[in-house]
C-alpha cells in the first residue's frame, strides 16, 4: 500500500489540468482572441495617429488583458464542481490550499502566459514606444498572477451559486483596480521618462503576499461554498 505524497498529488493535478486545457484548446484560446480583437479595434476607432495611440497603448493593453482573464475566471472551478471532481479534491488527504495553488498556476499559465507572449504584438498595433515594452511586460508578469490569485478566492466564494458571473465580476473588479493603476501607471511613468520602479515593486509585494494568502483563503472559501 502506497499512500500518495503531496508532491505526487500536485504533479497529478497539474498534469490532468494541463491535459484538460489541451483537450479543450478551442475554449482555451478564447481569452487570447478576445484581447487581440479588443486591442485591434482601437486604432480603427481612434484613427492611426501615432501620438494618440502611443498615449493610450499601455493602458488599453492592460485593460484588455485583465478583462480577457476575467472572462476565463468563472470556469476555474465550474467543471470540477459539475462533475464531482471538486468534492474529491476537498476529500483528498493533501492540503486543499496546495492543490488550489496548482489549479491557479494552471489557470495563469494557460490564460495569462499566452497573453503576455502576444503583448509585444499588441504593443506594435498601438505604437507603444519600444523603451516602454519591457516595463509593460514586467507589469503584466506581476499583475496577471495577482488577478489569478485574487480571482480564485472570489470564484471559490461564488462557485456554489448558479449564474454567479455577474457577482464574480462585481467582487473581482474593485480588488484588481489597484493592480491596474500601478501596472499601467508604471508604463505611463516609463513613457514620460519618470522612475517606474516603485509601482512595479508594489505589485511585486502584493503578489508575494497574495501567493501565500490567496490559496489559503480560496481553500477556506471553497469549503464554505460546498456546504
Amino acid at each position: 500500500m502506497k499512500p500518495g505524497t503531496a508532491s505526487a498529488a500536485c504533479i497529478a493535478l497539474l498534469r490532468r489540468d494541463l491535459l484538460l486545457v489541451w483537450r479543450r484548446r478551442g475554449d482555451a484560446l478564447n481569452p487570447l482572441l478576445f484581447a487581440i480583437i479588443v486591442v485591434a479595434l482601437f486604432p480603427f476607432a481612434l484613427g492611426p495617429e501615432t501620438t494618440v495611440l502611443a498615449r493610450i497603448a499601455a493602458g488599453t493593453i492592460f485593460v484588455a488583458v485583465l478583462l480577457a482573464m476575467l472572462l476565463s475566471l468563472d470556469a476555474l472551478f465550474r467543471s470540477d464542481l459539475e462533475d464531482g471532481s471538486l468534492e474529491q479534491l476537498v476529500l483528498s488527504p493533501h492540503p486543499l490550499s496546495l492543490l488550489l495553488g496548482c489549479k491557479i498556476l494552471v489557470h495563469w499559465s494557460t490564460t495569462a502566459l499566452p497573453l503576455i507572449v502576444v503583448a509585444p504584438l499588441l504593443a506594435q498595433l498601438l505604437q507603444l514606444p519600444a523603451q516602454v515594452l519591457p516595463v509593460l511586460l514586467a507589469a503584466l508578469a506581476l499583475a496577471t498572477p495577482l488577478l489569478s490569485l485574487i480571482g480564485a478566492v472570489c470564484v471559490a466564494l461564488t462557485v456554489g451559486m448558479r449564474r454567479s458571473g455577474m457577482l464574480l465580476t462585481l467582487l473581482v473588479l474593485p480588488l484588481i483596480v489597484p493592480a491596474l493603476i500601478f501596472g499601467a501607471g508604471a508604463c505611463n511613468a516609463a513613457q514620460d521618462g519618470f522612475a517606474y520602479a516603485a509601482p512595479l515593486l508594489w505589485l511585486g509585494a502584493w503578489l508575494a503576499m497574495a501567493a501565500i494568502l490567496a490559496p489559503l483563503a480560496a481553500a477556506a472559501a471553497l469549503r464554505i461554498s460546498l456546504t
Binding site: 502506497k2 498529488a9 497529478a12 464531482g84 476529500l91 460546498l226
Partner: protein, 215 residues
C-alpha cells in the same frame, strides 16, 4: 463476524447521536451506529430521506448539527481523513475529456495506490478491458460507473462510502459491486452503502440502517 469484531477492536467509524439540519429543518437523526472492519452496512430510505446528506456528513463534507463522528476513535476532521475514506457520490468525479486510464492515474496520483494492483488491472477487473484509452465521453453511464468503481479498487481507503452504487448498472454490474464489497470486507475494510431499496443484495444479508424522510 461484526459481533466478534466489536469486542476486539475499536470501530472504524462510529456515529454518536448524529443529527443534521439544514436551515433549522431536521434532515436526519439522531443516529447511532458503528462500523467495524469487515462490515458492509446498507442505509435504506426513500428519496429525500437524507441518505446522500448522511454520507456527506460522514465524509466530513458537511458539518453535523449535533453529535459526533469518530474515525478509529478520533473525532473526524477533513484534515485527518487522509487515506481512510473513499466517497463515491452521484457525481463520479471523472473527467469526460480524459480516458479511463488517465482518470485512474490521476486518482492514484492524488490518493496513492494499493500494493499489487495497477490501473490496467483495476479496469480489467471491472470488465472494461479494451476501453482503457477511449475518452470517457464515449462510454455509457454504466461504464463510467465501472471506472469509478475501479478507482475504489486502486486507492488505499479502508472505509468506502458509496452513494447508490447500483444505479445505472446492469445485472453483471450489480454482481460486480457485490463482489467488490465482499472482497473489500474480507480484506478488513468497511463500507456504507445507500439504496432506495429497489436493488437487492445478492450475497449475504447486510446490516441495515433505516432512514425516514421528515417533511
Amino acid at each position: 463476524m461484526s459481533i466478534a469484531a466489536e469486542t476486539e477492536s475499536a470501530p472504524l467509524l462510529q456515529a454518536r447521536s448524529l443529527r443534521f439540519a439544514r436551515n433549522e429543518e431536521e434532515i436526519f437523526g439522531p443516529l447511532d451506529f458503528s462500523l467495524h472492519p469487515g462490515d458492509v452496512v446498507l442505509i435504506e430510505g426513500d428519496n429525500g430521506s437524507g441518505k446522500t446528506t448522511l454520507l456527506k456528513v460522514l465524509s466530513g463534507l458537511l458539518e453535523a448539527k449535533s453529535g459526533s463522528v469518530l474515525l478509529h476513535g478520533a473525532p473526524l476532521t477533513l484534515a485527518k481523513l487522509s487515506h481512510q475514506v473513499a466517497l463515491l457520490g452521484h457525481l463520479l468525479g471523472l473527467k469526460l475529456e480524459l480516458s479511463a486510464l488517465e482518470n485512474l492515474r490521476f486518482a492514484t496520483g492524488m490518493g496513492g495506490i494499493r500494493s499489487g494492483i495497477t490501473p490496467q488491472l483495476a479496469l480489467a477487473s471491472v470488465g472494461l478491458e479494451g476501453f482503457e484509452d477511449a475518452p470517457l465521453r464515449t462510454l455509457s453511464a454504466g461504464q463510467r460507473k465501472r471506472v469509478a468503481l475501479a478507482r475504489l479498487l486502486l486507492v488505499p481507503a479502508a472505509l468506502w462510502l458509496l452513494d447508490e452504487p447500483y444505479a445505472n448498472l446492469d445485472r453483471g454490474g450489480i454482481d460486480l459491486v457485490n463482489r467488490l464489497l465482499d472482497h473489500h470486507a474480507r480484506r478488513g475494510g468497511a463500507a456504507l452503502i445507500t439504496s432506495h431499496g429497489a436493488y437487492a443484495f445478492t450475497s449475504g444479508t447486510p446490516r441495515r440502517i433505516p432512514l425516514r424522510a421528515t417533511a
